[in-house]
């Protein structure tokens, strides 16, 4: 199962990088979402997958050796929240930019460069 998820991480990164290199800002944002999901999955995988042994179950004593590691799950939850906030902010920024200039083309963004 881990190997499948590892491949999925790879595919998501590939798709993310590909989309980020496109000219459209919207595609860039979608690429960002892909990359952020790939990263979240990577962090989630970092402790390995354990099936059938959730972390906190009231009233039952489970051997810590076989229990799923709770930390990466907590990390991923935090990372998802942060990712959500960032994606929304990026979308809002893109929206305001589009309202102001009417362009979605990254090649038009050359004014502040030099």
């Amino acid at each position: 199962m881990e190997i499948v998820l590892a491949i999925v991480v790879g595919i998501l990164y590939t798709a993310g990088v590909y989309l980020m290199l496109r000219r459209s800002i919207l595609k860039f944002i979608i690429g960002l979402i892909f990359m952020s999901n790939a990263t979240n999955l990577l962090v989630f995988l970092s402790a390995g997958l354990v099936s059938g042994s959730p972390v906190f179950v009231d009233g039952e004593k489970i051997n810590a050796e076989v229990m799923a590691d709770p930390l990466p799950q907590a990390l991923v939850l935090t990372a998802i929240v942060i990712g959500l906030g960032i994606v929304v902010f990026t979308l809002a920024l893109k929206y305001k930019f589009f309202e102001l200039t009417g362009t979605d083309d990254l090649d038009q963004l050359k004014k502040t460069d030099n």
Binding site: F56, D58, L77, L84, G85, V88, A92, Y95
Partner: protein
């Protein structure tokens, strides 16, 4: 969108959303759930209502409400730091209070729950702010 079915559903479903949100909030500490998930559900109740009627109208009606929610939520979070400080423990330590109630049984109240409630309101506010900032007049 002007769908009668959606509007009728929203009327009742939003309360269902909120009930489940509070449930998720309360059972949160050692089981799946918690302030963040509850907050998202409760935020969705309002957003769902907005989809059924008109998000922009709701935005206009609620005005500064999301910001107040965020401020209030953050304030509750700060409040949750104080019990541990007053007891002389490290800041943010969990302080628990056990109350036995006749019908409900034993109730565990503590500063982590207070913290979760703060997160709950903050998340509702943030969700609304996200949706409203991307809304425009139809």
């Amino acid at each position: 969108m002007n769908s009668v079915i959606l509007q009728l559903a929203a009327k009742y479903l939003k309360w269902l959303f909120i009930v489940f949100a509070v449930l998720a909030l309360i059972r949160g500490h050692n089981s799946p759930g918690g302030g963040f998930i509850g907050g998202l559900m409760a935020g969705l109740a309002i957003v769902y209502n907005g989809f059924a009627y008109d998000t922009f109208r709701i935005k206009e009606r609620l005005q500064n409400f999301p910001e107040w929610l965020i401020a209030g939520g953050l304030f509750v979070i700060v409040l949750s730091f104080f019990p541990s400080l007053l007891l002389g423990e490290t800041i943010m330590s969990g302080v628990w209070l056990k109350i036995s109630l006749p019908l409900v049984g034993e109730l565990k109240l503590g500063s982590p729950l207070l913290f979760d409630i703060g997160v709950f309101f903050t998340v509702i506010g943030v969700t609304l702010m996200f949706i409203f900032s991307l809304t425009q007049k139809r």
